[in-house]
Chain length 288, copies 2
């Protein structure tokens, strides 16, 4: 069966809208998210437009700062400094990737960790890694856990989760979240030997590797839960372009007990979790 | 065969002593480590005494601040603030565990991350987790990697490492270091099902669970490399007390290709790596 990320994300946004209205009524605080986008990458602009729309739909304030592609690092850091000290800004997101002349690490480090709604600042990574409360958790990994729980229930304890991919944005944080849920975790990657055998142990298999249709049916244990983070654009022999995941859906769907489709699985959860982080950041300010 | 941690640690300290002398000659900087110990736990005092001795032996400056058991958190944080702003102090270590009325997280967070030679500050954990350069890496995990490489050579790529235990001090950081070495990693723990089966996949098995003689021969793959982090004090039927690891050494030694004995394996590496971190911190100051 499919895990319907589109519906689950909508339910989460509906829930957030109620909380946003309550926070405004009780504390006079309307959560606000500022997105900085540098340059004119079309995909980034589509994605940001989507974020703005959903932010506004649930009653949050959305601001967008568009900077030219030749923006200097100094200028960008100055903008961040202004946003850091602006009490009306609760969440700050710098749309990635940045143009190559800008150092992403330096830029992310310059965001106030309390406003870092992407959860990429070292302080937030460190808290996630240490299992400390109070950090902001990266959005896509958060979404993966919510989707897995939608199918498996809230108790994932003792399940063996295998994560393919070890990026800082998905692979490693999702593994840490699964560990916090008391899963046994395995992180596999391009250097892993016997990848099929390793994956076949998974009660929960998270694919975050960026290769179309990479995971095959004989890598999957009967009844496993599959979270497919990949979004790959492929062109068929007839010239039709479509999006597919990292998992060969047609092969795997009958073998597993549940799978997130692409599109409509993990994708929609990312923005919903971003909005959830923005609410958390705004609540911290309101309650202090 | 045994991996001789005592000898490897001594070689590392000898190497550090040369670097310390060179740094003093070239930059006039003598690395300095300050240890704060609160209360009168005898084990902690023995351990600190050992640290001081080894620090001095390799030509570093060692300072010890002993505070009474009823020290307030405010007082301790004030002491740390002074050390943070004292340019002659390169490394700061607060001996754990602290008395219960002191919040360990708050205390660790108050140490300047650049002087946090234990590597426990969230900024250092975050850098380790993100695979960023320039952080200070926790000492015992560092020692585990050095011991594994002593036997396996510098390239651990593609090996399957299983870590039993998920503490912030050992289990999780050692897993992250093994991942950086391109190992496939599995983190197992008290909630893991089929623990024996999981361990049996390990080319490198790290036991950091704190249970005497926990890992048995039939959990171990033929020819595996075993890193035993446990230090458990047991009393035999005849009343004799001895230290044993988390691995049933007598059973496992003939099955694996190499094992770190307890004592004399991981233990001696921890202080040597602490001194290595102190040198790194001092070099940063000297080269700036």
């Amino acid at each position: 069966m499919n895990i319907d990320g589109k519906l689950i994300a909508k339910n989460l946004r509906d829930h957030l809208a109620v909380e946003v209205a309550e926070l405004k009524a009780s504390h006079g605080v309307q959560p606000s998210l500022t997105v900085i986008i540098v340059g004119d990458d079309p995909a980034s602009h589509v994605y940001v437009k989507n974020k703005i729309k959903q932010t506004q739909e649930i009653g949050m304030i959305s601001n967008e700062i568009v900077l030219p592609i030749d923006t200097t690092e100094e200028h960008l850091l100055n903008e961040l400094e202004k946003l850091n000290s602006d009490n009306s800004v609760h969440g700050i997101l710098v749309q990635l990737p940045l143009p190559k002349h800008l150092n992403e690490n330096a830029v992310i480090s310059a965001i106030n960790p309390e406003k870092d709604v992407d959860g990429f600042h070292a302080v937030n990574s460190g808290k996630l890694f240490n299992g400390e409360e109070g950090g902001l958790v990266p959005c896509t990994p958060q979404g993966c856990i919510l989707l897995a729980k939608e199918h498996l229930g809230t108790d994932l304890s003792g399940l063996h989760a295998v994560v393919i991919g070890r990026s800082n944005i998905v692979g490693k944080p999702v593994a840490m979240l699964l560990l916090q849920e008391n899963c046994t975790i395995t992180i596999a990657h391009s250097k892993t030997k016997n990848l099929a055998e390793v994956c076949k142990q998974a009660d929960i298999l998270v694919a975050a590797v960026g290769i179309a249709n990479f995971v095959k049916a004989d890598w999957v244990k009967d009844g496993a839960t599959i979270i497919d983070v990949g979004i790959n654009r492929i062109t068929s022999e007839t010239g039709v372009t479509k999006l597919v995941g990292d998992v060969d859906y047609d092969e795997v769907v009958s073998k597993c007990s549940a799978i997130t489709p692409v599109p409509g699985g993990v994708g929609p959860m990312t923005i919903a979790c971003l909005l959830s982080n923005t609410l958390i950041a705004a609540k911290k300010v309101a309650y202090n």
